[in-house]
C-alpha cells in the first residue's frame, strides 16, 4: 500500500512554473531517487513535501491522511503545517546543524521540545541513532569540530530522531569533498536495509542505481521518466533521459 501519494503538484515562483504537475506514489520501505539536471524542480518538489513551500495545486497524502489539497481553498494554519511536517524528515545539502549544540543535543533538541517521551528515552534513542551513523566517539563535539561527512551523518540522526514516515534527502553529498561522500551514502544504504522509506535527490548515479527501488527522472518541471533502476539506466525511453545519463555517466 502506498504510504505517500502525490497527485498533480504544481508550483510557480512568480512567472516561472517550476513544477508542472507531478504525480507519483511511494510504498512503505521503498527508496525513490530523484535525478535530473539543475533547475528541473527536484529540490522544489522535496521542499513542497516538507511544507517549506506551498504547492499552488495538487494533493499530498500520507497513508490515509490528505495533508494538502490545492482544491481546498482554506489555507493551512501554522499548526497544521507543523503537524504535516512531522510525517517527513529532511536532510539538507548544507547540513544546517545547530552550531551552538553538541552532537547529542542536536539530535535530542526537537524530541525534547516536542515532548516525544521522557528525557531518558529520548537520550537513549539519540545515542542509538548516533551509534547507527557511526559517531559515538563524537557525541560531545560541536558541529564546527566535525568534518562535512560527519556533520551530514549527525543531520541524518537528527532527522531520524523525530521518527518520520518518510525521510527526504536534498543532494546530501553535493557539499562534500569527494572522499567524504562514501560515508554518508553508506549510512543511507544502511537505512534502506533497516526498512526506512526515503526520497533522495541525488547526482550520484551509481548510488541511485544501487540503492533505489524506483528512479524518477525530472526535466523542466515534469516527470520525464519513471521506473526501476534497470529500466532507467539500461533502457531509457526518453531522449532527454538518455542525453542526461550520457552526460552524467561520461568518463573523462
Amino acid at each position: 500500500m502506498a504510504i505517500l501519494e502525490v497527485k498533480n503538484i504544481k508550483k510557480s515562483f512568480g512567472k516561472t512554473e517550476v513544477l508542472k504537475g507531478i504525480s507519483f506514489s511511494l510504498n512503505e520501505g521503498e527508496v525513490i531517487s530523484l535525478i535530473g539536471s539543475s533547475g528541473s524542480g527536484k529540490t522544489t518538489l522535496l521542499r513542497c513535501l516538507n511544507f517549506l513551500e506551498t504547492p499552488d495545486s495538487g494533493t499530498i497524502s500520507v497513508g490515509d491522511n490528505v495533508l494538502f489539497d490545492g482544491e481546498n481553498s482554506k489555507a493551512l494554519t501554522d499548526n497544521e503545517i507543523r503537524e504535516n511536517r512531522l510525517h517527513f524528515g529532511l536532510v539538507f545539502q548544507s547540513f544546517n546543524l545547530f552550531p551552538q549544540y553538541n552532537v547529542l543535543d542536536n539530535v535530542t533538541l526537537a524530541p525534547k521540545l516536542l515532548k516525544k517521551g521522557s528525557t531518558e528515552e529520548i537520550e537513549q534513542n539519540a545515542r542509538a541513532l548516533i551509534d547507527k551513523v557511526g559517531l559515538t566517539e563524537k557525541i560531545g563535539n560541536y558541529p564546527c569540530e566535525l568534518s562535512g561527512g560527519q556533520q551530514q551523518r549527525v543531520a541524518i540522526a537528527r532527522a531520524l530522531a523525530m521518527n518520520p514516515d518518510i525521510l527526504c534527502f536534498d543532494e546530501p553529498t553535493s557539499a562534500l569533498d569527494p572522499e567524504l561522500t562514501g560515508e554518508v551514502l553508506r549510512v543511507i544504504k544502511g537505512l534502506k536495509e533497516s526498512g526506512s522509506t526515503m526520497i533522495v535527490v541525488t547526482h550520484e548515479m551509481e548510488f541511485a542505481k544501487n540503492v533505489s527501488d524506483k528512479i524518477i527522472f525530472m526535466a523542466d518541471g515534469v516527470i520525464e521518466e519513471m521506473g526501476t533502476p534497470e529500466q532507467i539506466f539500461e533502457n531509457p525511453q526518453s531522449d532527454k533521459t538518455r542525453h542526461f545519463l550520457q552526460n552524467s555517466l561520461e568518463k573523462i
Binding site: 516538507n50 507543523r82 511536517r85 552550531p99 532527522a159
Partner: protein, 231 residues
C-alpha cells in the same frame, strides 16, 4: 582644595554618569528588540514608521534630542514637566536635578534603543535561512526556533558591535551637562569656574579610562564565553 577633595567631588559627578549609563543600558537594550521587530515587520506601514523613527533618532544629534525632550513640554504645552519634577523632588526628598536627569534618561534610552535595534536587526537577518528551515522540518514552532536556535547565534554575532556601542555610551553621558546635569564633566567645569582649577577637567579622563578598561575586560569575557561554537 586637596587632591582627595577634588577626587571625591568628581566622584559624585561620575555616579551620575554611571546612573545614566546603567539606566540607558537596562531600558534601551530591551526596548531595542521591539523596534528591531517592527523594522523587520512584514506589515509595511509598521515597517515604514519604525524605519522613519530610527532614521530621525539616529540622524539628529543626541544633544539636540536632550534639549527637545527637556524643553518641549514647556514650550508646546505650557507645562515644563521636568522643572516641576526638579522642584518637587528637591523639596520633598532633597535630591537635586531629578527632573533634568529624568529628561536625559528618556532621551538616552530612546536614542540608544534605536542604535541597539539596528544591531539586533543586523544580527537576526544574518542568520541563514537554513537554520530556520532545519527547525521547521523537525516540527518546531516559530517561537521555539527563535528561542532555542536563533537567539544564541544572534547574541554571539552582536556582542562585538554591542560592546562598541556600550563603550560609546559611557562617554556620551557627558552630553547631559548641556542641560546642567551634574555629571562628572559638569562637576569639573564647576571647579574651574569657582576655584580656578583647570586640572580636574583633564583628570576626569582617568575615570572614563578606568571604567572603559573594566567594560573591555567584562565584554571580552562574554565574547570568549561564546567562543565554543562557530556560527
Amino acid at each position: 582644595m586637596s587632591f582627595l577633595e577634588v577626587t571625591s567631588f568628581l566622584w559624585d559627578g561620575f555616579m551620575v554618569s554611571l546612573l545614566i549609563f546603567a539606566v540607558t543600558l537596562l531600558c534601551g537594550a530591551p526596548l531595542g528588540l521591539p523596534i528591531a521587530f517592527c523594522s523587520m515587520s512584514r506589515w509595511k506601514p509598521l515597517k515604514v514608521i519604525s524605519k522613519i523613527f530610527v532614521w530621525i533618532v539616529r540622524g539628529v544629534p543626541l544633544m539636540l534630542q536632550i534639549f527637545i525632550i527637556y524643553y518641549v513640554p514647556g514650550l508646546l504645552f505650557d507645562f515644563p514637566l521636568f522643572s516641576h519634577v526638579d522642584r518637587y523632588v528637591s523639596i520633598n526628598f532633597g535630591i537635586a536635578d531629578a527632573g533634568r536627569i529624568l529628561a536625559v534618561l528618556i532621551a538616552f534610552t530612546i536614542n540608544y534603543a534605536c542604535y541597539f535595534s539596528e544591531i539586533y536587526r543586523g544580527g537576526i537577518e544574518s542568520i541563514s535561512k537554513g537554520q530556520y528551515e532545519a527547525g521547521y522540518v523537525l516540527g518546531l514552532t516559530k517561537s521555539q526556533i527563535f528561542k532555542k536556535i536563533i537567539l544564541k547565534q544572534v547574541i554571539k554575532r552582536i556582542v562585538p558591535p554591542m560592546s562598541n556601542e556600550i563603550i560609546t555610551l559611557i562617554k556620551d553621558t557627558a552630553l547631559a551637562n548641556c542641560i546642567m546635569v551634574c555629571e562628572i564633566i559638569k562637576q569639573a567645569k564647576e571647579l574651574a569656574a569657582t576655584k580656578a582649577l583647570i586640572w580636574p577637567l583633564f583628570f576626569t579622563g582617568v575615570f572614563y579610562l578606568i571604567f572603559v578598561g573594566l567594560l573591555t575586560i567584562i565584554l571580552g569575557r562574554v565574547e570568549k564565553k561564546l567562543d565554543y561554537f562557530k556560527s
